[in-house]
């Protein structure tokens, strides 16, 4: 069970998604200009993911991974029929946190945009990785389930500790968590992707 690392260059920022995360339903020029100003200052163009693939056993209210067992009906439902899981952690790094901090002091409107921009970037990273998993699994005749994170449904946030123990993202991608289970850098995601596959997954 080896943890692997991938670095992805990210595509251009999708302004529509940033607007969505910033809660802007009808954008005006000022909103778009604000996003463009922020995007100019955001220089990070890559994100990192570390992951592992492990066989799982799913019962009605419990999922057994090789590294831990967790009681959760929601996760069991989501992983129903799966025999593998891809457990991953992704982050776009610390730069966005510095910008959010700086602008929450100087210009909260920009801070809100950076917050939304960071959310767009990390989701974009997760989508790229998830897409690769889907392609690989579906290509060899299997199926995947949408990704699921600790804190969703009844899957306790504490499960984050198990994920961190298994992935050691501190070492691999510089992702940490605090005693309150807040991730640092903040624009980061950990999640489980359920896989139903006949053969071993190659990724």
């Amino acid at each position: 069970m080896q943890v692997k690392i991938k670095t992805y260059g990210l595509p251009p920022i999708d302004e529509r998604i940033v607007l969505l995360y910033a809660g802007v339903k009808k954008a005006e020029d000022a909103d778009i200009n604000l996003i463009r100003d922020c995007a100019k200052e955001y220089l990070q163009t890559a994100g990192k993911v570390c992951y592992l693939i492990c066989p799982i056993e799913v019962s009605a209210d419990q999922v057994s991974f090789t590294f831990a067992k967790v009681k959760s009906k929601s996760l069991s439902q989501r992983l129903n029929g799966c025999n593998y899981a891809v457990i991953f952690a992704g982050t776009i790094g610390i730069e966005i946190d510095r910008l959010i901090k700086k602008y929450s002091l100087l210009s909260p409107s920009k801070a809100v945009i950076f917050q939304a921009l960071g959310a767009e970037r990390i989701e974009c990273l997760c989508d790229i990785f998830n897409g690769e998993v889907n392609d690989s699994v579906i290509g060899s005749g299997g199926t995947t389930k949408p990704r699921f994170s600790a804190g969703y449904g009844d899957l306790p946030l504490e499960f984050q500790r198990e994920i961190f123990n298994a992935l050691n993202p501190q070492k691999h991608i510089g992702l940490y968590f605090t005693e309150s289970l807040i991730m640092a850098p903040s624009k980061s995601v950990t999640a489980v992707i359920g896989v139903q596959a006949e053969s071993e997954i190659l990724l």
Partner: protein, 799 residues
Amino acid sequence: MNLKNYIKNNLLIFDGGMGTLLQSKGLKVGELPERFNLSNPTAVQQIHKSYFDAGCNVVTTNTFGANSLKFSLEELEEIIKSAVENARIAQKNSQTNQPKWVALDLGPTGKMLKPYGDLEFEDAVDVFRNTVRLGVKYGVDLVIIETMNDCYETKSALLAVKEECSLPVIVSNAFSEDGKLVTGASPKIMVNILEGLGADAIGVNCSFGPDKLMNVVDEYIKYSSLPIIFQPNAGMPKVVNGKTEYDVSPKDFAVSALQAVQKGVKIVGGCCGTTPDHLKAVCEILKGVKPLKTTKKNYSTVTSFVKAVDFEKTPVLIGERINPTGKKKFKEALKNQDIDYVLKEGISQQEKGVHILDVNVGLPEIDEGAMLEKVVLSLQEVCDLPLQIDTSNPVAMERALRLYNGKAMINSVSGKEESMQAVFPLVKKYGGVVVCLTLDENGIPPTATERVEIAKKIIGVAKSYGIDKKNLIFDPLALTISADKNSAKETLKAVKIISEKLKCKTSLGVSNVSFGLPSREIINSNFFTMALNCGLSAGIMNPYAEDMLKSYYSYLALSGLDESFDGYINFANSLPKKEVVEVKIEGGSKDKSLEKSELQTAIIKGLKNQAYKITKELLKNQKPLDIINGEIIPALDYVGVGFENKTVYLPSLLMSAEASKVAFDAVKEEVSSSNQNKGVFVLATVKGDIHDIGKNIVKLLLENYGYKVIDLGRDVEPKFIVDAVVKYQAPMVGLSALMTTTVPYMQQTVKLIKELAPWCKTIVGGAVLTEDYAKSIGADKYCKDAMEAVRYAEIVTNK
């Protein structure tokens, strides 16, 4: 044999990977490898012995994660004791005859340090200290700090080692694909920080295979005066037949090791995936190979955690504005612990193009050490420039240098014995480039020659402390010409001699020269040009003084230092156009139905510059309070109502709020004490939580509506919040929490407020909260957004 002497003339070979070998000897997934020292000592001894048998000089103890965050102190002691014993037994049992040593292995804590994580810097130092103390107790020969991917944590570990023992210490960092640490430091920055803190050898490990790490090694060789260590992985992991394998063979690994040695690396070993076979191949290929001599580098450099500034050809601008001297508002801010004010001063100087920020917060009424520490930490959260720690108080200086993330500039030491005795030990311990004033017990000598003599004396004394002259920057002191017409000439002469004859760097506080004369900027900026022409390396200056920047950018352009004139052109384009103040707003009168004034339109559209200019214009004819109540507040209300009705969205609301704040500031400049204080509102993000955008938005809006906001920041203890409520007799307090894990602290805080400050209304908000939940924890009010908080505050204060 003495290790430090050995590596002067010999290559040193470290061992290779431990983790995969432990797994092959039965370590289970999830089992902590450090416990294997106790549960299966023979296996650990065998691995160590196989590395000694392969010809390695140093094995590292199996203590990568052995720290007091993971283990109790009792268990930690048992682990380290057995880990050192295991290595020593292997050393005894190995029959090969190369010199052998045992290194204590220190890996990262696994936690991120504040401000982005939750581990305090000093707590990190203590965690490492516990491990080092035990390693020393059980007799290791040296310490290796390795696989660190954050420069701040690396600093905490190295400080712990240096404070706990005098053993040789090697520091090795793990780099990402972009050639930087995950928190952004480049190899050049690491070289500067670690040399400054007194590491004996530095370099890289883990990260990738040898080929990909070679660029990082090149950078180390370019900048480092210390021996360099190189311990890459055996390439990248691949799964072959269900087993993990690394893709670089022992033979190829050894060839890369040889290449690294030929470039100047002195210490070679392996990290993940390397085996005794890899190291055996390394020892064989390096047999008889002599290391290159480590050469001293003469760069004068200061750094933050992501930026390095060199005092080389291009002169450096040091912003002088973080300093209370002669600034009433700044003094007030310091007295009121208004750190935000200081931070904004830092950021706006950065926007003016300075390369380093001078930080001076000395005031008789305040605890300078505590304030300097706080300002340095806070500045480093929002500004990535290197800082110049400016204080005459050695205690304050040490507190700041200790917590500073980077290699600081230090201001200052003089030729006085007392000054050198106080400052040089700090420079030696924490690293840094120190400004040396050419004065001594007899004051400032009048002639350049005498000032140069003092400089020479300072160089000698610094050397006796082990401080190289590349880390000294001489300030030959600019005195006012109105007192002595020749004083500028002598200063310039001293700059020239120090840079040309002593081959040292220089800096000057430029502005003194014109004291007592009218239109000082003219003199200052021309003196600055003259000084630059004499070879001045850095100017401590006011970046808001346009003439100074004109001198600077012209000098760069005229002396061939501005490649393609980008610096000059950008500066020229940034100069304000000479035209009449434009207060007309496009579209301002379009929306006739709203009948908004120009100021209101500017606020509604979020145009900060316009809002400021128009307010200034209005103040010529209108009373400040009329502008606030008749113009600003209604405009803000208009946007606020739009937000509540969901026709205006958060970014627009905030842009308007920022514009109205600027308008308020313009009013405040006219009337120093604005009587717009509707009441005090204490605001905090609760303990355990580090999110603060929501809280800051609430703050901005409340301030706009005339409330005095006491912002306690984030991750705030319940007791601290209650103390502030009591101290300010605040009628209301706002608490923010974004995580289910931190809401319990919100509950504790509310409870404590109900006990100790029962008059105070508690307002709670944050992503995970609901109306019902707020009720269940006893809060008076749940607010779903900032406008609702404003509305509730108005109800509370109108009662």
